[in-house]
Subunit: 397 residues, 2 copies
Amino acid sequence: MSVCLQIEATRGPARAGRLITPHGEVETPVFMPVGTLGSVKGISQDVLEELGVEILLSNTYHLFLRPGVETVRKMGGLHQFMSWDRAILTDSGGFQVFSLNELRKVSEEGVAFRSHLDGSARFLSPEKAMEVQIGLGADIIMAFDECTEYPADAARARASMELTLRWAERCKRYFEEHKAEVPWKSSRQPSAVSRQGKQVLRSAGQPRAAVPTGKNQALFGIVQGGMDPELRRESALRTIEIGFPGYAIGGLSVGEPRELTRDVVLSTLEHLPSDRPRYLMGVGTPEEIAFYAQSGVDMMDCVLPTRAARHGLLFTSEGKISIKQARYAKDESALDPACDCHVCRRYSRAYLRHLYAANELLAQVLNTVHNLHFYLVTMRTVRAGIRAGLAPASGAS
Amino acid sequence: MSVCLQIEATRGPARAGRLITPHGEVETPVFMPVGTLGSVKGISQDVLEELGVEILLSNTYHLFLRPGVETVRKMGGLHQFMSWDRAILTDSGGFQVFSLNELRKVSEEGVAFRSHLDGSARFLSPEKAMEVQIGLGADIIMAFDECTEYPADAARARASMELTLRWAERCKRYFEEHKAEVPWKSSRQPSAVSRQGKQVLRSAGQPRAAVPTGKNQALFGIVQGGMDPELRRESALRTIEIGFPGYAIGGLSVGEPRELTRDVVLSTLEHLPSDRPRYLMGVGTPEEIAFYAQSGVDMMDCVLPTRAARHGLLFTSEGKISIKQARYAKDESALDPACDCHVCRRYSRAYLRHLYAANELLAQVLNTVHNLHFYLVTMRTVRAGIRAGLAPASGAS
């Protein structure tokens, strides 16, 4: 198996361990920052490394439109294209097709939609989504699913779930036949992926992020089923029957109340195999990611820390801060006195408030660094708590 | 004297040495990156330090409007406000009043204008410009001058020059009477400004960038006189008669042809004292800064490297590159194979082109890092050439 989870400690339903990927190990439970277009907005890969990011999420839908899979494939895949030799996960595009395209047309074959950039006609099917994700070359790729809208009646939720199951089989079939086409440069050494000694690329074609020969991507299945626990159970069991090295819970954060999200996640988790990574897609606040990690989720992603940062909303050990407020204009204290990120160590709230109010680019950069650090520390605390058998204060850094 | 130039090598009219300021030494000739609002757009102060920036320029006009001098003064001055313990120079606001305000009203007393942000009525006079610059607390501050428009007839150029001279006297008088009001935290140690061991501020009021007791800001005079060499000579001599620790050549880059700029600079330089720093304001391309440094200019600033970067225009050892061009979409080579900045070491032209085309924030960040590095290396090469008695290839890195 190309990706596997080594569980090293448990506490109730929670697990702490290591996700082994072709591009390095990832401590779990993990929060994956979102780098939609092959970049976490405003943050250089060096800074992500310093922050301790071990796995990034990138969006197939966006990369499919720009720069297009051919460009990324020709560059040796996303790792080499963006010069990131740690792990990457790509989603399947299913969620963006759903959320960015009101005029999409879903058929058994796939989804016809129009690019949100230029209105051009596009098509994604299970096979196409696999072809694109193999070309992008992330370590973990996701089955192409239909994200069921909320609310959906029972018949609609079942039909949608059945479609996702048929698509999951097609994804697996296509992936098994084509997985050797991943554009990774292979290496004969057991591990050419160096984190300490950074590799330097000057000339074309030189491998930057070579992986050991014989390593492959891993395709994860996605559980759907709307908000009905019974359908979720059926979706989980039948997805497991198809068989994947990891399972995601999809179709949430689509407008439903937060308590419902929570109920659906908890009931779905019960049906997922304990020896495979469990990935909850698109969730959530610091409190939520801590809660779900303590509930047995191994992987999460969310645009919240990065998007909120760009809007001046900052997560701190004392709660959320809207840095634009005039009350911070002459506040000499650190953004979060309990935080040791380089923003809190170096800059005052007054300076951060000034940068935001003056619409300075650096505001977005520094705010993003802090929020990512906060999320990463939140997960570090949760992991330490699981390993120590303690219940960490949720959301605290 | 609070700022002085130690000349350590000369080659023809060119000089290499060290500008000694209350916030550290600056190797000259030096290019000063522009941090208009107390931030070089998109670049964290850590990165500026890594790039080897020893002095920044910040704009009085912009800081006067946002966040206002009172805020910066209360924070202990610009160094502490922006957490930068190396040298800073502020301009006087004269140029921005001229370039950003068509409805300005110049009188003997000063300039009435409207904020380009909210249209509010504002006023800057020589005294007010000093008061603001003392409150901002840069190491080097500039006399409030009238930037003569181009073209200007002989009578207008003379009248404008005479006004600038009268204002220079008023600036000096006000500055001498009020220079003790600079909001620096003073220290008793001979040098509390540490570059290696970074100081950490967590609580309010702690000095971040303390300077030895008794150190003051330095006020530089500005030579005007339009494009007439005779008026420039007179302006230089009479400004020197007033007496400043350094002299700037202002009133250029106002629309005149490049050759005229060059002629005016060269003829003005002849009249400036060789033992004082000479600062050419708002110039220029890499070739120009190399040329002027070789002609005897010690200090320069320009928005070109940073502004061009944000528009995807990159300076390289092989000439200018517009990274948005489709020809770079699959170009795996480094932006500038001869450059060792962290952008050129890590990322391909294809990735930089993608970031720019996709309007990613990181494009502006990385492009700015590269262009600043290119300018700093250009000056480093010029300095080495002066010290070695060699003529460096202009603009090469």
